[in-house]
């Protein structure tokens, strides 16, 4: 009984307007991101810290400033702006910091777009259609593609200051194929291990799968998220990349059932997206069946973009596109209110009893 009640409180959207719950969830999610952030800082050094800190601070400042300007109560203590800043920072390459003196403002601009355009202008927390952190990142990626795809080489060591750049595993796979990937990582086992630990180029927070899994399991254990979205998302990607991901190295033609699902699961921003961003209460559906469809949709779009699209990675665009469908999915999966005759209540605007 009490289990059921707890599930109900955290999953259906009207309840998230209660301040206590919002703050508790937001801060818990932020804490569960810390292991992944720690790994990111370990691999990418002080630059990564500077990028994430800039994002967090500017998100808080923009949220507070906009709320003050619009004469609304300032609610930055609920942690949602902090979480947006944290997620945005973790979704950016560490190279943004010293790539070019002109580009120091990129994390700030991304935060502006995430908080002001995506969230506040749509009505604040609970009214935004799209995940603010992802819109912030999409804005930066589209506007400054070169800076946003300059990845630092992971150099274990907190004080590593050398700024060698390299391509992400998915980038190598897209441009040069599996052969080159094997050349870089040696054996397949080594590839999986490095991806699992996070020793690879990528966004600050997306690299370390093991840390992300720890955070995701913590959220699942605390029942702040349910398995429906992340598991269907991951499973769909695994199945589709297994079926359609294989390529004949000579002809470049597609070979069915020859893909490498494990590599696709471990690389890119899939883990970060599936556990921490697709599960956002505000921009995802709240009904279980709709969440399953949502996760599948994210998985299909991610696989399509990765396998045939122009970008090497598609998690961000997949989640953003599915964000549009979240309200529709909730509506399609109709439920009849308790105690009403199904046929009459199921049709909106139909005859009232």
């Amino acid at each position: 009984m009490s289990e059921k009640e707890r599930q109900f409180i955290v999953s259906v959207s009207p309840h998230i307007r209660s301040d206590v719950t919002v703050a508790r969830i937001m801060w818990s999610v932020s804490i569960s991101l810390l292991p992944a952030l720690g790994m990111g800082l370990y691999f990418f050094g002080p630059r990564a810290l500077a990028v994430v800190a800039t994002c967090v601070v500017s998100c808080l400042v923009f949220e507070a400033g906009m709320q003050k300007w619009m004469g609304k109560p300032v609610t930055i203590s609920d942690g949602s702006a902090f979480l947006t800043g944290l997620l945005l920072g973790m979704n950016l390459p560490a190279s943004l910091w010293s790539f070019n003196p002109f580009l120091i403002h990129l994390p700030i601009l991304g935060s502006f777009f995430a908080i002001v355009i995506t969230k506040v202008l749509f009505g604040g927390l609970g009214y935004n259609i799209f995940n603010p952190a992802l819109i912030g990142r999409a804005f930066l990626l589209i506007s400054w593609p070169r800076a946003m795809t300059t990845w630092l080489k992971p150099t274990a060591g907190l004080l590593g200051m050398d700024a060698q750049t390299t391509a992400t595993p998915l980038g190598i796979l897209k441009e040069d194929g599996v052969g080159k990937l094997m050349e870089v990582f040696g054996t397949r086992t080594n590839l999986y291990t490095q991806l699992f630990l996070g020793h690879r180029a990528g966004s600050i927070g997306e690299v370390s799968v093991i840390a992300l899994l720890a955070g995701g399991l913590f959220l699942l254990y605390k029942r702040y998220i349910t398995w429906h979205i992340p598991i269907t998302f991951l499973a769909t990607v695994a199945i589709l990349t297994w079926i359609f991901g294989g390529k004949d190295p000579q002809t470049g033609r597609m070979v069915l059932f020859a893909g490498d699902p494990l590599m696709h699961l471990l690389s890119g921003g899939l883990m970060l997206g599936a556990f921490f961003m697709a599960t956002d209460y505000v921009t995802g559906p709240s009904l279980r069946a709709a969440q399953v469809l949502f996760g599948m949709g994210c998985g299909i779009l991610t696989s399509i973009i990765r396998l045939v699209g122009g970008f090497p990675e598609g998690v961000m665009f997949a989640i953003l596109l599915m964000n549009c469908f979240a309200p529709l999915l909730d509506r399609v999966i109709k439920t009849s209110p308790f105690g009403t005759v199904k046929t009459a209540a199921a049709v909106p605007g139909g005859p009232k009893a």
Binding site: L103, S143, P145
Partner: protein, 211 residues
Amino acid sequence: MSAAQKISYFGLIRNGIFGENPVFRVALSLCPAVAVTNTLKSGLLMGVAVFFVQVMANISISIVRKLIHARIRLPAYILIIGTWVTVANLLLAAYEWPIYKEIGLYVELIVAFAIILSRAELFASKNEVVPSLFDGLGMGLGFMFALGAISFVRELLGNGALMGYHVVNTHPVLLFALPMGGFFAVGLLMGFFNWIDIRFFGGHGASGAGH
């Protein structure tokens, strides 16, 4: 509007630019407002082409309004609009070839712009030639103003340039040069002009127009 009602010509022009601005108020013809506004030059030239078609269509439809049978008025209006669009297109191709190559495709689409047919149906078909002329001038200027404003913002932010000359020496916000940036520019400018209207004019513009 009856003929007895006094119509201020200046009021008609002001109505087209502010009160019922085709893009920012009535939200018609948003397709060109997004498609051809990535540089100030093409935005303004598109504005000029629409201005020309709007004025000529309003005049000619007002002239023939009593001769056209009510049943076929829409095909007749479209034909008249289409004629002026083709004229504008040919003139552009002959005398402004570089511009034609850039916006020629969209100039041909003016024939389907909602704003022109809506002014023909709402105004020119019910009014004398001179008021129709001024209504066309107002709407054309309003459209030109809107496209100018949008393309000004987009070229400045998206390319760091104005009329092709670089004015900002930094990395531009590429998003605004892309079609999706057009939507952001239109939305933000719409909000901006609504804010000005409410702040300085008491917010009558949005609802104060006749129809």
